[in-house]
Amino acid sequence: MQSVEVEICAGTACHLMGAQGLLDVTNTLKQTHGQRLQVKLTHCLGACAHGPNARINGTLYSRLTEEKLLALVNELLADNRGAR
């Protein structure tokens, strides 16, 4: 079973643009998905002018909102379930 890895940038620019909210929704999602969802904080994803940023399974997403992040992660979790 594949897992989804979400790395949320906690750099100062992303913190100012709402990284904490991204972390909170992802952690809430983790309560239902457990080990299949890995959540990490990272120092910088190199796109400070376009925060808040997160990397999901290696792909960088900028100007994220909580809804966008949830949609992306949920889609991946659903895909993986199908592949299983």
Binding site: A10, G11, T12, H15, L16, M17, D24, L41, C44
Partner: protein, 488 residues
């Protein structure tokens, strides 16, 4: 609490960061006219009427960042000329620090009770019967409230079985516990500076972001750029955790030094001195027969008494606030140093205008935008040891109850513990002051905090106050452990 940031807050922070960046780069005058368009291009702003209006609003918000009041600039001044003005002025500290941007005010409805489409023109007409002033009639199959008769008692709303009558209060007015916000003749909200205590609660309450405070960002950056004198950061006890989950106090010191501060000092140090002075003062006042003493550390609470209960000013402790206490002590040693307070507070900007010892005041939000504008990322700094300037009692000033705890700790051994009225939030403070004036307050000490929860819930903070409280408690414990380890 919801940690989701509103678009209004995000745009404000982009504006602060962009203006800070241009100031650092000495390109403010040259490029500031392009800033509103840059921000419009970068955001999916849902326009209220058109792009032109949003641009006009951004221009006004940029003026606040520049620290200029509406009456200081001509109506059609370009941002470029305002930037020149801001860079040239040395008078940026102001006693009235919050401004309503009239161009941005959406003129929310001011009728307090409104009949909605849910009204079914029922047979009972409970609303009509409940109204003590006969203000309700049935017009076009619906209840109608005659504004000239309505006394806004709310009985109609409470009586309707369909909840068809709703109470609407303007968010800004609702947030203001001292009644300083009122609509003008055109329905645009206005702030009465004679009543405003500068707490800043309305700033975050307005869903349109129409209220803001003047910043000291430009003069602070200009101070940090030069080398003629040292600039010190005095960081308020509420700072713990404010700059993100991967940033400890040591990293904040390193980051602030990277943008030009020579020293970073915990204001908790001043708070500790304040607690000792205030305890002595309390004992003396009690000896002289005084009934009540209030704290004096929160400038908006002191403003409340000054502006709304001037007859009770005698009860306010004469001990200076921790900010002023620390600044005075530093300037006595080093008069050449420039001092910049960094905290959660909007009212501190007005307090700074009352003392020559403070050179600028920034919120955590503004300081973070200045760091980002200079390209400093606190999260990527190497691990740093925690700050160790202050003990747990001083650090505890940042949350409600902390001032009392420190005061009690500094009372002489065996001294009777005072009965304390916690005025937690401006509304509670108003109630406590009413009781004080009426002589029915059953307390020896009022701890006044304009923000409910204390400074950690201030308008210039960056994290959820509950999280901030947890982190602050831990930071206080560390100070305690350190104290025990070093044996003093």
């Amino acid at each position: 609490m919801n940690t989701t940031l509103s678009e209004v807050t995000k745009i404000k922070r982009q504006l602060y960061t962009t203006i800070a960046r241009l100031t650092w780069q000495d390109k403010l005058v040259e490029q500031i006219d392009d800033v509103p368009d840059e921000i419009l291009d970068n955001n999916e702003i849902s326009y209220r009427c058109c792009e032109h209006k949003e641009r006009a609003i951004l221009r006004e918000k940029a003026r606040l960042v520049l620290g200029l009041a509406a009456d200081q600039v001509s109506r059609h001044a370009s941002l470029q000329s305002m930037a020149q003005q801001a860079l040239a002025t040395s008078e940026f500290k102001r006693s009235c620090n919050v401004e309503m941007l009239s161009v941005a005010c959406d003129r929310c409805p001011i009728d307090r009770y409104v009949v909605t489409d849910a009204c079914r023109n029922c047979g009972a007409h409970y609303c009509k019967n409940a109204c003590p002033k006969n203000a309700i009639t049935i017009v076009n199959n619906r209840a109608y409230i005659d504004r000239n008769r309505c006394i806004e008692c709310g009985r109609c709303a409470n009586s309707c079985s369909y909840h068809a009558i709703v109470q609407i209060t303007r968010p800004c007015e609702q947030a203001c516990a001292v009644g300083a916000i009122r609509p003008d003749a055109d329905g645009i909200a206005e702030i009465d500076c004679n009543k405003c205590v500068g707490c800043g609660a309305c700033i975050n309450a307005c869903p349109f972001g129409s209220i803001g405070d003047y910043t000291h960002v430009i003069p602070a950056i200009e101070m940090l750029k030069q080398t003629d004198y040292p600039v010190y950061a005095l960081i308020a006890p509420a700072f713990v955790g404010q700059f993100g989950p991967k940033v400890n106090s040591g990293a904040i010191v390193t980051g602030l030094k990277q943008i030009g501060f020579q020293k970073v000092i915990e204001v908790a140090q001043g708070a500790e001195a304040v607690a000792a002075l205030e305890a002595t003062e309390y004992v003396e006042r009690k000896q002289d027969g005084a009934k009540v003493m209030t704290s004096s550390c929160c400038p908006a609470f002191v403003g409340l008494i000054t502006k709304h209960y001037p007859d009770q000013l005698g009860a306010v402790s004469h001990t200076p606030s921790p900010m002023v206490q620390l600044a005075t002590a530093i300037k006595a040693q080093q008069p050449e140093a420039r001092l910049v307070f960094i905290g959660p507070c909007v009212a501190k900007k007005a307090e700074a205008a009352t003392t020559p010892y403070l050179d600028a005041v920034l919120t955590f939000e503004e300081a973070a935008c200045m760091l980002v504008g200079k390209g400093v990322n606190l999260a990527s700094l190497a691990a740093q040891p925690e700050m160790a300037d202050a003990g747990p009692l001083g650090r505890g000033f940042a949350k409600s109850g902390g001032v009392t705890e420190a005061l009690v700790a500094y009372l002489p051994p065996g001294y009777p513990v005072p009965t304390v009225q916690q005025a937690d939030g401006l509304q509670a403070a108003v109630a406590a002051c009413d009781d004080l004036r009426a002589g029915r307050l059953d307390a020896d000490f009022i701890e006044g905090m304009a923000c409910a929860g204390g400074c950690i819930a201030g308008p210039g903070t960056l994290i959820n106050p509950k999280v901030a409280e947890r982190l602050l408690d831990r930071f206080c414990k560390e100070a305690d452990a350190m104290k025990k380890a070093t044996g003093n």
